[in-house]
Amino acid sequence: MGVFMERTLVLVKPDGVARGLIGEVIKRFELSGLKIVGMKMVRATEDLASRHYPSSDEWFRKAGQRSIETFKAQSIDINKRFGTTDPISIGRIIKSWLVKFITSGEVVAMVLEGNRAIDNVRRLIGETDPLKALPGTIRGDFSIDNVILGNSLSRPMVNVVHASGDKKEAENEIGTWFEKSELYDYNTGADDVFYKEW
Protein backbone atom coordinates (compact mmCIF):
# COMPACT_ATOMS: atom_id res chain seq x y z
CA MET A 1 0.00 0.00 0.00
CA GLY A 2 1.22 3.48 -0.86
CA VAL A 3 -0.42 5.19 2.08
CA PHE A 4 1.89 7.29 4.22
CA MET A 5 -0.38 7.83 7.19
CA GLU A 6 0.94 10.86 9.06
CA ARG A 7 -0.10 13.25 11.77
CA THR A 8 0.85 16.91 11.76
CA LEU A 9 0.34 19.87 14.05
CA VAL A 10 -1.50 22.99 12.92
CA LEU A 11 -2.04 26.17 14.90
CA VAL A 12 -4.54 28.86 14.02
CA LYS A 13 -2.47 31.72 15.37
CA PRO A 14 -3.78 34.71 17.38
CA ASP A 15 -4.30 36.76 14.21
CA GLY A 16 -6.50 34.01 12.71
CA VAL A 17 -8.52 33.64 15.91
CA ALA A 18 -8.98 37.40 16.32
CA ARG A 19 -10.08 37.73 12.70
CA GLY A 20 -12.73 35.01 13.03
CA LEU A 21 -11.02 32.63 10.61
CA ILE A 22 -11.02 29.47 12.75
CA GLY A 23 -13.91 27.82 10.93
CA GLU A 24 -12.75 28.87 7.49
CA VAL A 25 -9.27 27.42 8.07
CA ILE A 26 -10.53 24.16 9.59
CA LYS A 27 -13.01 23.80 6.74
CA ARG A 28 -10.24 23.79 4.14
CA PHE A 29 -8.40 20.95 5.88
CA GLU A 30 -11.60 18.93 6.35
CA LEU A 31 -12.66 19.35 2.72
CA SER A 32 -9.26 18.06 1.57
CA GLY A 33 -9.97 14.74 3.30
CA LEU A 34 -7.72 15.26 6.30
CA LYS A 35 -9.16 14.23 9.64
CA ILE A 36 -9.00 16.20 12.90
CA VAL A 37 -7.86 13.79 15.62
CA GLY A 38 -7.28 16.39 18.33
CA MET A 39 -8.21 20.01 18.85
CA LYS A 40 -8.27 22.66 21.57
CA MET A 41 -8.17 26.39 22.02
CA VAL A 42 -5.33 27.44 24.33
CA ARG A 43 -3.53 30.50 25.57
CA ALA A 44 0.09 29.37 25.30
CA THR A 45 2.48 30.12 28.15
CA GLU A 46 5.89 31.57 27.35
CA ASP A 47 7.42 28.22 28.28
CA LEU A 48 5.20 26.28 25.85
CA ALA A 49 5.84 28.82 23.08
CA SER A 50 9.62 28.70 23.47
CA ARG A 51 9.54 24.91 23.38
CA HIS A 52 7.42 25.09 20.23
CA TYR A 53 10.05 27.06 18.30
CA PRO A 54 13.52 25.46 18.10
CA SER A 55 16.45 26.87 20.08
CA SER A 56 19.39 25.54 18.07
CA ASP A 57 22.04 27.81 16.53
CA GLU A 58 21.22 26.13 13.26
CA TRP A 59 17.62 27.32 13.44
CA PHE A 60 18.62 30.83 14.59
CA ARG A 61 21.13 31.10 11.75
CA LYS A 62 18.55 29.99 9.15
CA ALA A 63 15.90 32.39 10.44
CA GLY A 64 18.43 35.23 10.60
CA GLN A 65 19.78 34.47 7.15
CA ARG A 66 16.28 34.58 5.69
CA SER A 67 15.74 38.10 7.01
CA ILE A 68 19.18 39.24 5.89
CA GLU A 69 18.44 38.09 2.34
CA THR A 70 15.00 39.70 2.27
CA PHE A 71 16.41 43.01 3.53
CA LYS A 72 19.26 42.86 1.04
CA ALA A 73 16.84 42.23 -1.84
CA GLN A 74 14.91 45.34 -0.80
CA SER A 75 18.12 47.36 -0.22
CA ILE A 76 17.17 48.00 3.41
CA ASP A 77 19.90 48.27 6.06
CA ILE A 78 19.46 45.26 8.37
CA ASN A 79 21.82 46.69 10.98
CA LYS A 80 19.47 49.63 11.43
CA ARG A 81 16.56 47.33 12.14
CA PHE A 82 18.21 44.66 14.32
CA GLY A 83 21.32 46.45 15.63
CA THR A 84 23.44 43.58 14.34
CA THR A 85 24.33 41.79 11.13
CA ASP A 86 25.04 38.43 12.81
CA PRO A 87 22.53 35.85 11.54
CA ILE A 88 22.35 33.96 14.84
CA SER A 89 21.67 37.13 16.85
CA ILE A 90 19.02 38.18 14.35
CA GLY A 91 17.52 34.66 14.59
CA ARG A 92 17.27 35.00 18.38
CA ILE A 93 15.45 38.31 18.04
CA ILE A 94 13.05 36.75 15.54
CA LYS A 95 12.35 33.88 17.91
CA SER A 96 11.57 36.32 20.72
CA TRP A 97 9.06 38.03 18.42
CA LEU A 98 7.49 34.68 17.50
CA VAL A 99 7.12 33.71 21.16
CA LYS A 100 5.66 37.10 22.05
CA PHE A 101 3.19 36.93 19.19
CA ILE A 102 1.98 33.36 19.72
CA THR A 103 1.38 34.05 23.43
CA SER A 104 -0.44 37.32 22.70
CA GLY A 105 -3.85 35.67 22.36
CA GLU A 106 -5.69 32.38 22.09
CA VAL A 107 -4.62 29.88 19.46
CA VAL A 108 -6.44 26.81 18.17
CA ALA A 109 -4.12 23.83 18.18
CA MET A 110 -5.07 20.76 16.18
CA VAL A 111 -3.62 17.48 15.02
CA LEU A 112 -4.55 16.46 11.49
CA GLU A 113 -4.22 12.93 10.18
CA GLY A 114 -4.14 11.49 6.68
CA ASN A 115 -2.05 10.34 3.77
CA ARG A 116 1.08 12.52 3.68
CA ALA A 117 -0.59 14.94 6.07
CA ILE A 118 2.56 17.03 6.58
CA ASP A 119 3.11 17.90 2.92
CA ASN A 120 -0.61 18.15 2.16
CA VAL A 121 -1.12 20.66 4.95
CA ARG A 122 1.85 22.74 3.80
CA ARG A 123 0.46 22.71 0.28
CA LEU A 124 -2.91 23.99 1.54
CA ILE A 125 -1.45 26.78 3.69
CA GLY A 126 1.00 28.07 1.07
CA GLU A 127 4.29 29.99 1.37
CA THR A 128 5.34 31.41 4.74
CA ASP A 129 5.40 34.93 3.34
CA PRO A 130 1.79 35.83 2.44
CA LEU A 131 3.04 38.12 -0.31
CA LYS A 132 4.44 35.06 -2.08
CA ALA A 133 1.64 32.64 -1.16
CA LEU A 134 -0.61 31.73 -4.07
CA PRO A 135 -4.31 32.55 -4.15
CA GLY A 136 -6.26 29.46 -3.13
CA THR A 137 -3.90 28.80 -0.24
CA ILE A 138 -4.82 29.87 3.29
CA ARG A 139 -2.03 32.44 3.56
CA GLY A 140 -2.55 33.59 -0.01
CA ASP A 141 -6.24 34.19 0.59
CA PHE A 142 -6.26 35.52 4.14
CA SER A 143 -3.19 37.69 4.66
CA ILE A 144 -1.61 40.70 3.00
CA ASP A 145 1.41 40.77 5.32
CA ASN A 146 5.05 40.31 4.30
CA VAL A 147 8.48 40.02 5.95
CA ILE A 148 9.43 43.68 5.57
CA LEU A 149 6.21 44.97 7.12
CA GLY A 150 6.48 42.49 10.00
CA ASN A 151 10.12 43.23 10.73
CA SER A 152 9.59 46.97 10.53
CA LEU A 153 6.94 46.65 13.25
CA SER A 154 9.12 44.33 15.39
CA ARG A 155 6.78 41.41 15.00
CA PRO A 156 6.75 38.18 13.00
CA MET A 157 4.60 37.86 9.93
CA VAL A 158 0.90 37.49 10.67
CA ASN A 159 0.23 34.54 8.40
CA VAL A 160 -2.83 32.98 10.08
CA VAL A 161 -1.47 29.46 10.61
CA HIS A 162 1.52 27.43 11.63
CA ALA A 163 2.12 23.86 10.45
CA SER A 164 4.89 21.35 11.14
CA GLY A 165 7.66 21.34 8.54
CA ASP A 166 8.65 17.68 8.54
CA LYS A 167 8.10 14.37 10.27
CA LYS A 168 10.45 15.05 13.17
CA GLU A 169 9.03 18.51 13.76
CA ALA A 170 5.50 17.10 13.64
CA GLU A 171 6.31 14.52 16.32
CA ASN A 172 7.94 17.11 18.58
CA GLU A 173 5.21 19.69 18.13
CA ILE A 174 2.36 17.24 18.70
CA GLY A 175 4.11 16.19 21.92
CA THR A 176 4.56 19.83 22.93
CA TRP A 177 0.91 20.77 22.52
CA PHE A 178 -1.04 17.56 23.22
CA GLU A 179 -1.23 14.72 25.72
CA LYS A 180 -1.74 11.30 24.15
CA SER A 181 -5.14 11.12 25.85
CA GLU A 182 -6.28 14.21 23.91
CA LEU A 183 -5.93 12.47 20.53
CA TYR A 184 -8.72 10.25 19.20
CA ASP A 185 -8.99 7.34 16.79
CA TYR A 186 -12.25 7.18 14.92
CA ASN A 187 -13.43 6.12 11.48
CA THR A 188 -15.43 8.08 8.96
CA GLY A 189 -16.96 7.44 5.56
CA ALA A 190 -14.27 9.55 3.91
CA ASP A 191 -11.59 7.21 5.29
CA ASP A 192 -13.01 4.42 3.14
CA VAL A 193 -12.89 6.60 0.04
CA PHE A 194 -9.17 7.17 0.45
CA TYR A 195 -7.82 4.10 2.18
CA LYS A 196 -10.01 1.07 1.44
CA GLU A 197 -8.67 -1.41 -1.08
CA TRP A 198 -10.79 -1.55 -4.22
Partner: protein, 171 residues
Protein backbone atom coordinates in the same frame (compact mmCIF):
# COMPACT_ATOMS: atom_id res chain seq x y z
CA UNK B 1 -22.59 40.19 26.20
CA UNK B 2 -23.55 36.59 26.72
CA UNK B 3 -21.96 33.13 26.50
CA UNK B 4 -23.53 30.12 24.83
CA UNK B 5 -22.39 26.52 25.17
CA UNK B 6 -22.12 24.57 21.93
CA UNK B 7 -21.37 20.92 21.32
CA UNK B 8 -20.77 19.57 17.85
CA UNK B 9 -21.92 15.95 17.99
CA UNK B 10 -20.05 12.90 16.61
CA UNK B 11 -21.90 13.00 13.26
CA UNK B 12 -20.74 16.60 12.74
CA UNK B 13 -17.13 15.66 13.46
CA UNK B 14 -17.22 12.51 11.30
CA UNK B 15 -18.87 14.34 8.43
CA UNK B 16 -16.08 16.94 8.55
CA UNK B 17 -18.44 19.82 9.23
CA UNK B 18 -16.41 21.35 12.09
CA UNK B 19 -15.04 24.26 10.06
CA UNK B 20 -18.26 24.87 8.16
CA UNK B 21 -20.32 25.11 11.33
CA UNK B 22 -17.92 27.14 13.48
CA UNK B 23 -17.32 29.38 10.47
CA UNK B 24 -21.01 30.27 10.41
CA UNK B 25 -20.92 31.49 14.02
CA UNK B 26 -17.74 33.49 13.43
CA UNK B 27 -19.09 35.00 10.23
CA UNK B 28 -22.10 36.28 12.14
CA UNK B 29 -19.83 38.10 14.57
CA UNK B 30 -19.80 35.69 17.49
CA UNK B 31 -16.43 34.98 19.07
CA UNK B 32 -15.32 31.44 19.78
CA UNK B 33 -13.65 31.81 23.18
CA UNK B 34 -13.09 28.15 24.07
CA UNK B 35 -12.98 24.95 22.09
CA UNK B 36 -11.94 21.37 22.76
CA UNK B 37 -12.27 17.98 21.12
CA UNK B 38 -13.13 15.25 23.59
CA UNK B 39 -14.77 11.87 23.99
CA UNK B 40 -17.80 12.04 26.30
CA UNK B 41 -18.36 9.37 28.91
CA UNK B 42 -21.93 8.04 29.15
CA UNK B 43 -22.32 9.98 32.42
CA UNK B 44 -21.20 13.27 30.84
CA UNK B 45 -23.55 12.66 27.93
CA UNK B 46 -26.48 11.92 30.25
CA UNK B 47 -25.81 15.06 32.29
CA UNK B 48 -26.53 17.22 29.24
CA UNK B 49 -30.16 16.09 29.13
CA UNK B 50 -33.04 16.43 31.60
CA UNK B 51 -34.01 13.55 33.82
CA UNK B 52 -37.65 14.22 34.60
CA UNK B 53 -40.86 12.44 33.60
CA UNK B 54 -42.32 15.51 31.97
CA UNK B 55 -39.42 15.65 29.51
CA UNK B 56 -39.51 11.89 28.88
CA UNK B 57 -43.24 12.02 28.13
CA UNK B 58 -42.77 14.94 25.75
CA UNK B 59 -40.08 12.96 23.88
CA UNK B 60 -42.30 9.87 23.71
CA UNK B 61 -45.21 11.94 22.45
CA UNK B 62 -43.04 13.47 19.74
CA UNK B 63 -42.21 10.01 18.43
CA UNK B 64 -45.87 9.06 18.47
CA UNK B 65 -46.73 12.22 16.57
CA UNK B 66 -44.04 11.43 13.97
CA UNK B 67 -45.59 7.99 13.41
CA UNK B 68 -49.03 9.58 13.22
CA UNK B 69 -47.81 11.83 10.40
CA UNK B 70 -46.87 8.68 8.51
CA UNK B 71 -50.33 7.23 9.08
CA UNK B 72 -48.98 4.67 11.52
CA UNK B 73 -49.81 4.03 15.11
CA UNK B 74 -46.93 3.76 17.57
CA UNK B 75 -48.19 1.78 20.49
CA UNK B 76 -45.87 2.58 23.37
CA UNK B 77 -46.03 4.19 26.76
CA UNK B 78 -44.76 7.76 26.25
CA UNK B 79 -42.85 7.82 29.55
CA UNK B 80 -41.09 4.50 28.95
CA UNK B 81 -40.32 5.34 25.35
CA UNK B 82 -38.99 8.77 26.40
CA UNK B 83 -36.55 7.02 28.72
CA UNK B 84 -35.51 4.74 25.86
CA UNK B 85 -34.89 7.77 23.64
CA UNK B 86 -32.61 9.29 26.25
CA UNK B 87 -30.58 6.04 26.25
CA UNK B 88 -30.30 6.26 22.46
CA UNK B 89 -29.24 9.90 22.68
CA UNK B 90 -26.55 9.09 25.25
CA UNK B 91 -25.35 6.28 22.98
CA UNK B 92 -25.28 8.69 20.03
CA UNK B 93 -23.39 11.58 21.59
CA UNK B 94 -20.81 9.27 23.17
CA UNK B 95 -20.24 7.28 19.95
CA UNK B 96 -17.18 9.31 18.90
CA UNK B 97 -15.30 12.52 19.64
CA UNK B 98 -17.31 15.75 19.95
CA UNK B 99 -16.22 19.37 20.01
CA UNK B 100 -17.37 21.46 22.94
CA UNK B 101 -17.08 25.22 22.62
CA UNK B 102 -18.19 28.60 23.91
CA UNK B 103 -19.59 31.25 21.58
CA UNK B 104 -19.63 34.75 22.99
CA UNK B 105 -21.45 37.85 21.84
CA UNK B 106 -24.61 39.92 21.99
CA UNK B 107 -27.61 37.67 22.75
CA UNK B 108 -25.41 34.63 22.02
CA UNK B 109 -27.95 32.06 23.27
CA UNK B 110 -30.70 33.40 21.04
CA UNK B 111 -28.53 33.84 17.94
CA UNK B 112 -26.72 30.50 18.17
CA UNK B 113 -30.06 28.72 18.43
CA UNK B 114 -31.46 30.72 15.54
CA UNK B 115 -28.50 29.79 13.31
CA UNK B 116 -28.86 26.10 14.29
CA UNK B 117 -32.58 25.86 13.52
CA UNK B 118 -35.23 23.33 14.48
CA UNK B 119 -34.29 19.87 15.86
CA UNK B 120 -36.72 18.44 13.34
CA UNK B 121 -34.84 18.44 10.04
CA UNK B 122 -38.16 18.33 8.16
CA UNK B 123 -39.11 21.80 9.33
CA UNK B 124 -35.63 23.33 9.84
CA UNK B 125 -35.34 26.27 7.44
CA UNK B 126 -32.76 26.28 4.64
CA UNK B 127 -29.99 28.62 5.72
CA UNK B 128 -29.94 27.13 9.20
CA UNK B 129 -27.32 24.53 10.08
CA UNK B 130 -29.85 21.74 10.53
CA UNK B 131 -31.84 22.88 7.52
CA UNK B 132 -28.76 22.75 5.32
CA UNK B 133 -27.00 19.65 6.62
CA UNK B 134 -29.59 17.16 7.88
CA UNK B 135 -32.16 14.83 6.44
CA UNK B 136 -32.65 12.56 9.43
CA UNK B 137 -36.14 12.30 10.93
CA UNK B 138 -37.60 11.12 14.23
CA UNK B 139 -39.71 8.55 12.33
CA UNK B 140 -36.74 6.90 10.61
CA UNK B 141 -34.52 7.13 13.68
CA UNK B 142 -37.20 5.45 15.81
CA UNK B 143 -37.71 2.68 13.23
CA UNK B 144 -33.95 2.08 13.33
CA UNK B 145 -33.97 2.15 17.14
CA UNK B 146 -31.53 5.03 17.47
CA UNK B 147 -31.49 8.73 18.28
CA UNK B 148 -32.52 11.34 15.74
CA UNK B 149 -29.24 12.87 14.53
CA UNK B 150 -29.17 16.60 15.12
CA UNK B 151 -25.48 17.50 14.47
CA UNK B 152 -25.15 20.04 17.22
CA UNK B 153 -26.28 20.86 20.72
CA UNK B 154 -26.68 24.38 22.11
CA UNK B 155 -27.94 25.27 25.58
CA UNK B 156 -31.59 26.30 25.78
CA UNK B 157 -31.12 29.22 28.14
CA UNK B 158 -28.49 31.49 29.65
CA UNK B 159 -28.70 29.55 32.94
CA UNK B 160 -28.23 26.18 31.22
CA UNK B 161 -25.38 27.62 29.14
CA UNK B 162 -23.51 28.67 32.28
CA UNK B 163 -24.18 25.25 33.85
CA UNK B 164 -22.91 23.37 30.80
CA UNK B 165 -19.89 25.66 30.39
CA UNK B 166 -18.98 24.92 34.00
CA UNK B 167 -19.37 21.20 33.33
CA UNK B 168 -16.81 21.23 30.50
CA UNK B 169 -14.58 24.25 31.01
CA UNK B 170 -14.62 24.82 34.78
CA UNK B 171 -15.84 28.41 34.54
Amino acid sequence: MEREFIMLKPDGVKRRLVGEIFGRFERAGLNITAMKMLQLTKEQAASLYPDNNEWFIALGNKAKKAFGEHGEEFNVDSLQHGKQIKKWVVEYVSSGPVIVAIAEGNDAVYFVRKFIGSTDARVAQPGTIRGDFLTDTIYTATKEKRANRTLIHASESRELAEREIKLFFGN
